[in-house]
Amino acid sequence: MKFHGPRATLRMAELHIIGQIVGASGFPHSSLFCKWGIHTGGAWRLLSGLREGQTQVDSPQTSDVAFWSHPIDLHYATKGLQGWPKLHLQVWHQDSFGRCELSGYGYCHVPSSPGHHRLRCATWRPLGSWQEQLAQSFVGGGPQLRFPDVIYSGADRYRLHTGAAGTVELELGIILRNFDKYGVES
């Protein structure tokens, strides 16, 4: 039997992220939808699947949990571990007039161990000044991040006044491939 080193066979590390955004709970409003996206470092290459998306609006009638069951199916190839995929979420609320306003930002790392994972991503929401809060309570809308990449970037957020929003629940199945070839044990 011939030995094939990693170079010889060219086995690249691959990562499958297959799962769903199950739903959200704990938000003050119930009619919610979610915009999501996956951010990776430069070493990562998307082979197939959608990097970002938006769920439908779910307005649950009984419970306060909004269910989306929005599928996520991504296939990445990578040449390095840096910039492991992060999932960032924006939960939006659609009010009774059909207007959309932000309910929460959140982000979580895609788990790095293979298998099935249930994630709960806590979200937050910028509060803004009291005038804005007042306006928000009467006419809707609300402060939003000017640069939404703050959600997942490590900018100094301590100056930001935020309030807690609800939790988004995710179910992700992670499949790693050929990572062991490069000494990454999972």
Binding site: R11, G42, L47, S48, K79, G80, G140, L145, F147
Partner: protein, 1682 residues
Amino acid sequence: MASPSDLREKIRKKRRALQESLAKSKDDVDTQALVTTEMEMSRDRGRTEVEQELSGSQEQQVTTLKQTLKAQRMRRRRKLLSDTTAEATRGEQPMGTELSEVGEPLDSVTKPRSTWHTQRDLPPLPVETPLRRRVAEKLKAARSKAETLLQQEALSEPTSCLQSLRDRETLTRFDVECPPQTDPGLLSREAGDLSTAARVKFQDVAHRVRQKAEMETGLPTAEMAYNFFTFNFDPEPQEEPVKHQKKRKSRRRDRAEEEEEEEEEEGDSHREEEEAGAEQEEEQEEGRDEDAPLVGDQGSELFIIDQTAQDFLEVKAVDYVGYHSRVQRESEVLFTPSLRTVPASSKVPENMQPRYMEDEGLYVGERPPMSRVNQNILENRILQQDEGKKWFGDDGRVQALPDPIKQSPTRPPLFSLEGDLDPALQTVYRKALKSKHAGRYIPGAGPGEGHRHCQLDVDVAGLIFSHHPLFSREHVLGARLAQLYDQHLARQSRNLTGLLTDKLNGLRNALRNIKDLHGEQGRSMAMRQRIVEYKEEVKNTRILRNTEQEKDRTLLKSIVKVWKEMKALREFQRFTNTAYKLHLRRELVELQKDEQGFEAEIQTELAELKGEFEDEYQRKMEQYSQQHEEWRTWRRKQKARKKKKKAKMRDDGEEEEEEEEEEEQEEEFLGDEPPKPELPEKQDWALAEQQVRERASRWRRRPGEPVLVPEISLSGSITPTEQCPRGEIARREDISKRSLLVKVLYNDKEVSRTDRRTLSSDFRVHFGQIFNLKIVNWPESVRLQVFEVVGSSSSLLAEVFVPLPDTTVLTGSAPFQELEFGSSQRVAFDHEGVGSDVPFSFEVDGSNKLTLLTSGKLSCCISWAVDNNDVPLAPPTSQQPWGVRSGLRQMDAIACIGASGLSDMKKLSKWAAESRLDPNDPSNAMLMQLLTVASSGSMQMPDYFRLEQLQEEFNFVTDEELQRSKRFRLLTLRSQEVAEFRNYKNIPAVEREVSEKVFQDYERRLQEGEVIDTRDHLDAHRALVAKYLQKVQESVVNRFLISKHHFILSDLVQEDEVPSIGVLGLNLFKLAEPKRPLKPQRKERKKVTAQNLSDGDIKVLVNIIRAYDIPIRKPLSSKPAMASKSARSFKEPFAAGQSSQSALQGGDWPLSQSQIRPFVEVSFQRTVCQTTTADGPNPCWNEELELPFSAPNGDYSTSSLQSMKDEVFINIFDEMVFDITEDERERGSSVHTRIERHWLGSVKIPFSTVYLQSRIDGTFKVQSPAVLLGYSKERSLASEGGYDAVRCLSEGSFITLFITIQPQLIPGESVRERMKEIKFDTQEEERLLQAAEVFQRDAALCFPGRPCITTVIDINGRAVFVTRYIRALSPPQELLDAFPNSPQETMDLVARYVSLIPSLPDSVSFAGICDIWSTCDQFLTLLAGDEEEHAVLLCNYFLFMKKKAWLIIGTAVPEGPTAYVLTYEQGHYLIWDPSKGQYYGQYDTFCPLQTVGCLINADNVWFNLQPYDAPMRMSFDVTRSKLWKPFFSRAFPNPGLSSVQPEEIAYNRPDKAAAAELQDRIEKVLKEKIMEWRPRHPTRWNRYCTSTLRHFLPKLELSGGRDVGEEHRLELHNLLGDYRISGFPLHMAFSELHPLMEMVYSTGVHNVEAPSIEFALAVYVHPYPSSVLSVWVYLASLVRTR
């Protein structure tokens, strides 16, 4: 003694009685409240008396028991008595009261006893446990003690309180039975109180109450429960017992402890007393016996009610340890640190004084605050511990770290959120907006993507007037002073003098060094040159230094002078206007040193000067000697010449003198002798020294003179207005009236202006406003206009042009610039203001006049803005025209060199080296720093920005390897939906399994994007067209893709409609419908979206019902009837009921003959199904064929399905059976036949039509070849009957079909629906478009089924009004010339020509996009188009031929919405099918046109308003507005729309050579194909037949495909008599080779498998103008008959 059984018997009786009484007393509600309270009270009490009562009620069951009881009671009583006596003896209270009170407790003891009767719910137990008795005893004892204590307490209490208590007791004692009984001593007293009658009464009441209580002991009734919970009980009776209880409880607690002691103490006396009291007790018992039966009865009743519980339970007092004892006990175990302060001595080690660090000056941190008490406790506790002292510090306090709590919160306060928040974190308040297009989620994208705008930020900071008309004289001086001071400061900061001095020294040193190092001799040429250069440098620098020094000095002097003037002025005018104040700071210097330095400097200078002079002299001497030499040579020559002259002139002597003079003159002229060098040198030297000294004394600080540093401060006080003279007040008032504003003009347009700011007394105005200019035009100029506003009128004061910034100058980094402005306006005032352009003087006498103009400095800053993402909003540098000069060049080190945008550091450093910049020059400082940075290797400026550092080091693989991965590439391409890889199912999991071949096609396509592949197209022109079409398609597809992604709800959600009342009603009616109606109707099936389908899910159902007029076989022997090929006239088809032809032929053929056995074969996607064989020319099959369907690449999306080019072929064959039994003998026993089938005709239906229409239902004309060898069209009227009379007027065969798809697919939005959503840009007038929209909408409202077109999309994607397409166009001249005499023939030919242009449905080429109408020339160039183009072209041709022609927009049977042409011909309307070239009469049954929506000609559009839309049932008279609604009417006349069609179409000549070539190629390809299709059989070609056939084809073409068969069939027959021929010519418009092959294949000629079969195939291509080709393929199979 009663036995237990007796007892039980009794109990049963009692229970019965009780129940009766219960029923009786149910309505006694009044007393219930009382009872319940009673109950509650008694519940707690009396438990101890259980035994007593038991014994009483059961008539002394157990005598022993009784005795013991007595003994107990006695003991208790005795104890009580002894207590009281003990107390009495103690003498605490008087005896009398004592006695009376003794009764009380006893009373209260007995009282519960009686109430307890009612309460009792425990069954009696015959045998009492001793334990229980003992408990009871104890309790009783305790209680009695408690009573005594209570009594004692009561005594100590105030009497009033006691009184009330007692009163209440008596009140509640109504239900008490007979308290006096208990104590004989008291009995007599009480008996005296109560009469016997009262007693009886009491007893009654008690009885009743008891009964009630009994029933309560059972289950309380609902009523009672209700009352119990709801009644507001009287608090008074309740309060008392509670009190009692409480008291008793507390007493008991106390007693419990005392009891034990007492018992121990009094143990002996008890025993004595017991005996004594036994008798007493006996009596008591007897006394009670009177009551016993009553009580006993009741008791026995009660006991039975509940047999459970308490016997097993033991009632115990709460185990309680007294507080003091507990404290005592605890004190043995626990340690309680005291709260007292610990003396300091105990805290520090012995013999030591506490030491306070603070006093020693050491820093001791602040101790955390702690309460004194806690600290004491802590200290006390610690001290008790082992080594407790180690916790204390030297100062005798507990060691503690300083207070860790910060006074201020660590988190910075969030006062202003917006202020200085990191811009990356800023939030925007966005209104809750309704998003029409819910944008895709892009995490990083800003709002304004796409077109980027530029933004200039103009920051107007403020302005300062250096002169203003309102300046007072003092202001003028002040301004001058300030100006001078500013100058001074600027000079000082630049310190030019110092720098130049340094440089000078440096240069001198260098020069000296050189001189020292190298002796005079050793100097090389270069060195000498350098020395000269140095000297020159030194000289220049010195001169510069001197001038600078001079300037400094003058400046200082003038400052002082101005200040003096100002002071004088202030003095003079007696008020102060400005706050300027000048101080001159003296810095003393050391005289000695200074003098030395001064002298040394002068000496050096002199030495240098000397050197310079010497050099100069030397140079001059050299020059002189050189010149002198020259002169001398010249002179010599001159002399020689003179001599010659002299010799010559010697003859005449008079002239000699003159000559001499001349000579002299010449000498003077020539002799440019330099003046003697020695003389000026000496003279100069002395003079120079004097000059130097003088200069030094004048411009340089004299030695010992202090250094004067002027300082101006604004600390001076301004005289208040009241103290000023009138003129000054007026001036000041004037100032306050004025305000200023600045307008910003961009490219000479005012874009904004600042607020008005009042002019302050110091003539400084601060604006501080930033204007953001969003720029569209290139900046040419930015002007700032300063306006002065007085009241409401404003006047332009000055205008400042601001230089435009470089694109690199960005907001935030741009410095402010001060721009000077001035105004020549003449302003004069009658007050103190000096005015502008007005002469004024500081002198009193008015001399020395001065004229000043308004001027000032404007501070502003212009820069390019930076957007939120830090992207400069500047225009790209490359666009910047050269004229723009940067105003900030002097600020930018590189820019000031004149090398703006120079970014190459190497070049820069090279340039710097070359130009030998002075490193000490401050103006070069920035540059030098840059250069040092650039030149030092470590600080090399990278020309890139590393985003993810250290990425490289940790990479698994390199980028190239990642790129090289074939598998990844395949995956990516698949997900990108590249055409080749779309729906690629399985991608190997391992890299090596991906073959390289996969990408070949794709890569080839990428490479050969532009290369035209002519192999598939045979014709270069067509290949080009195909390419062009592809490109158009691509671009249109791309444009459409965006709108395709825009889903509407119905695309995603399939929602069943909620049934309304109407629908429900209909459904109800349906119940009544017959189960099997006579005329069943097809029901709408459920539609399926095409997304989740896969191969095999979809089937195409073809229902073949019947066919008419199929040609029949012709026996070989029969004599052919010559078909009269009469010139057809248009009238013929419409003449009803006459068919001479068929009548003629009808007689020739016997009916009985087996004419034909046709069957139908349906092929779709190479799947073939066939029906059974029927008989006769009008067969009826009624069979359903099911064909599987698979989408291309398994892509079942709507667009893919719509663009499918597959067609459903329906072929009609004749089945012929040949007997091939060779052996005649076997004929009887076996059948050996061969079946052949002969193609008779076909119908093609494109799949896209089926898909879009979801079903196709109707009768179609079978496209049969013009000639069918071996068959003839026969009709017999007899067989068809009268009903068919109308139908048979049309020629050809017909087939009735029903085609659909199972399951039904939702067709993509139809072309026209799509059009409504997409707004195309247009050049039409808005009004016209609106009218068109209204027209179309109305049409759709009235008749939704009728298509109506007003605007169409042209090939550029613009909306065009449809009438613009109609214009008379000339057909090719050849066609017109062909039949000069017969207009009908010409029309036929023209129609044929049009039909020969290949048809390509738009929906195929522009999948699901829109209906695109190309103009006729485009159509002819592309040679492809759908029905509309054909119809437009045909209509235009007809118009040219002076026919009345319209375009019909309607629906036809196979193709759906389509366009036909209507012509009016001699009273008849003809409907032309443009893509087939056929025409139908209006009343033709088989006209494929089913509905007519609207008619269009060049002038107008008419919409069909008639009730019927079938052409047969309607009128085509468009003048009748009731039937046809015109678009352009009188209300909205036709604006005279010009046509989009060209005036003339240029036609290419038919290319015969190309046609011939194509013909050969087609023939070759087809022959190869046929051989290929017959892999197992040899294919022989009959050349003779082929050549014969080839001759026929041109004839067929000439006849236009009409029946010329008979002639050449005969011919053939003659030639090939031995063969049985079956064959036919196929004809089609040529587009590509593929459809041709498909058609040949579908005829199935190749399927004949007779061993002796031969084939003949002839191809003829007839060229028409503009490369329109008509292709004929003659196919025949021959079987030798002999």
